[in-house]
Point group: C2
Chain length 223, copies 2
């Protein structure tokens, strides 16, 4: 009981934790999973930071937002810290996911093994092209877009992945929200608007490249 | 000349601009491109912010890092602001890009139209599977991985996209760096290390979902 208390702050106001810190939690989790896979039981904040290019102070400060996880003279116990981070991120339970838009990117996402490893299970895919519906892509059944509300409700889908062209992204998002999803990952290169109650993450691949370009150009200009 | 001066601060220390601001520049750019496509010539900071879910103060503050772009009584001239932002991001010239790893994700990335629209031209793809080499995917020739250094140098490739499995990502990145690329976008779900002189953007799709999960869970806990 005192241990449980020690690992959780009294009032964890997680919604106010800086976004960058939550991002790094995912990086710590991934690195810890690699470490366990390679047979490591424990890790120091120094070594964990080094693997990721952060200082040990950064690692300790980030984790301190969520509790006290280190053990004196030992460091972090990898499986324990993995469980704690998954608990914080909410990925300690399976998240049923639906994907809308079975084009090239949709197919790639359906074949992406990383989702399953982190607790996201794509349980249904949707497309408006009747030639695709009824087929199975990477083990996932493709339903017609018209059946979205029914299937999402039946399967208790919580998250929708939008991988349709820009001009249909908002419509697809609206349908997903009506069907009751709690969060949307938008891969369409357009800004969509959602009700306050639904979380949104946008992944725009061109933006990632632009950010890289900026970094390349300014690295050179500052020398 | 006074106009040019007005649009550029005397010492634009762009490397120190917060990352989030540079991210939003990409969002402004995308929205402005949509506006021009729809026939709009000018836009107010209020309306631009509203389209993206930001306040007008936020828009003005972000752009103020880079210069003075608004015109009293007019707002922003869309084509002018697009040119300015592309200049800041460094995407006013074409960036020759190479992609390594022609699997599902690689194919999706080769078919992704958004890169070209933002100035990134995938000029070569590489794979270690000899059955793929010599073929053309989405108009891009697939070379054998062994020819990477030669082709990258010949074509003046500046950016490499890594879409190989996690266990070969570091090797691929090392080869790209040796061949002279200035930046790498890593889609493999692993942290890679690069020399200081090479820029890195990591896109981990599972991490995007984790961040969404955190946001969903904590939205609910805070109610």
């Amino acid at each position: 009981m005192s241990d449980a208390k020690k690992n959780k702050p009294a009032t964890p106001d997680l919604a106010s934790v800086p976004k960058a810190v939550v991002s790094r939690l995912s990086l710590y989790l991934r690195e810890l999973q690699h470490l366990v896979f390679d047979g490591h039981e424990t890790i120091s904040s120094h070594r964990l930071g080094k693997l990721l290019g952060f200082s040990d102070a950064q690692v300790r400060k980030d984790l301190a937002y969520f509790g006290q996880f280190g053990h004196p003279g030992i460091g972090y116990r990898c499986p324990e810290l993995i469980a704690a981070i998954r608990g914080i991120l909410g990925t300690d339970a399976v998240w049923p996911v639906a994907l809308v838009g079975v084009g090239n990117l949709g197919r790639a996402l359906l074949g992406y093994k990383g989702f399953g490893a982190q607790g996201f299970q794509v349980q249904a895919a949707f497309d408006s092209d009747a030639r695709k519906t009824g087929s199975t892509v990477e083990g996932v059944t493709v339903y017609h877009f018209d059946d979205l509300a029914k299937v999402v409700r039946q399967r208790g889908i919580r998250v929708g992945i939008v991988s349709v062209p820009a001009d249909s992204a908002q419509t697809v998002a609206d349908r997903l929200v009506e069907a009751g999803v709690e969060g949307i990952v938008n891969f369409a290169p357009v800004t969509i608007s959602l009700p306050e109650s639904v979380s949104l993450v946008g992944v725009d691949l061109a933006i990632e490249l632009e950010q890289l370009a900026f970094s390349v150009v300014n690295r050179r200009q500052t020398r």
